[in-house]
Homo-oligomer: 172 residues x 2
DNA sequence: GTTGATATGTCAACGACACTGACGTATCCC
DNA sequence: GGGATACGTCAGTGTCGTTGACATATCAAC
């Protein structure tokens, strides 16, 4: 036992960790509140949002790739994808090189809805970024990137470092 | 139209925002993966974890306060709280000043389980903090705090600023 | 001391979103 | 032709949230 000094330090560390945990819990919840409200009016949920988001980000994405990003089963995807297609938000087109694939894209209505959901979250994030300042945003990215598993990090790592380097001075 | 310059800036901003969105999505998912696995073995889920966490953080918390923190209905809480009590992880005791209240606390078994779940996430967070460095952690806190709604911010704001100020130099 | 508000529990039904398992179809590739 | 692959779908299940209604115990006030 090293006595009070070590215990004090450990205590502080733990407080710091628990604060971060709570920030993630409350932050994620409050961050998704805006889209949730919009989606509820349309009879949709968070799962629909995720599909809209990633199809919008990756036009022509295959079902397999989308499943890998979302890490859900095709049955779960089907339940939200079919209504999105029926509602005219997403279209499927056969793959040009491999016609077994159904490439997914947003329709103009899908783009519009995705943008509406995006703007809701953009407003919140932009305010948080502005109030925190550029260096804080860079720190935020660094820490969040460290929370990612290998897959997600591979997906975002390059973008994060590029954005961080190029934008750091400008946002400040 | 201001031409390419403005468009370029807006594009960068949007890329930045979308990167943050994806960091939050993947980060939250990967951050909860550890506890999820442990809980699954015990036949419990994330909701049980949240109750264990906040009861552990606030020993003697009332049901009402817990409901306010979690923002769920008492029916939803009951469904996870009852098994936790039956399993010997949580105990209820009548309030001393108001005996209608059932003050919630963790049993030793509850403390042990919460600690096990905590350590799983602590390892991940501590590594992310260490790799990112002290100033980045401070930035992370600033940005996350900006995402919180008024309620959550009131709950965490003071702690965040205290921790930020006191710890900033040490972690670096 | 009855009476109204409050704190909590519980029964019932439902919805969103995930899962497993099984099977079907179209297409690719050898 | 035949096995692997991409995708879809039917059926059943589990977690976690909801609303609505009702019961009980306790407090607080008149």
């Amino acid at each position: 036992m090293d006595g009070r000094n070590t215990a004090g330090l450990l205590y502080l560390r733990e407080e710091e960790i628990r604060l971060a945990m709570e920030l993630l819990f409350y932050g994620y919840r409050d961050f998704t509140a805006g889209p949730d409200a919009i989606l509820a009016e349309l009879g949709m949920g968070r799962a629909h949002h995720r599909v809209l988001y990633f199809v919008g980000r990756h036009p022509g994405i295959t079902v397999s790739e989308l499943l890998a990003i979302l890490r859900i089963t095709k049955q779960s995807l089907g339940r939200v994808l079919q209504p999105l297609i029926a509602g005219g938000y997403v279209v499927q087109s056969p793959g040009r090189s491999d016609r077994r694939q159904r490439l997914l894209s947003l329709t103009p209505a899908g783009v519009a809805l995705e943008r509406r959901l995006f703007e809701s979250q953009r407003a919140l994030l932009a305010r948080a970024f502005r109030e925190a300042g550029g260096p804080a945003v860079e720190g935020f990215r660094k820490v969040m990137l460290g929370l990612l598993g290998p897959e997600a990090r591979a997906r975002l790592g390059l973008r994060a470092s590029l954005t961080g380097a190029r934008v750091a001075g400008k946002v400040a």
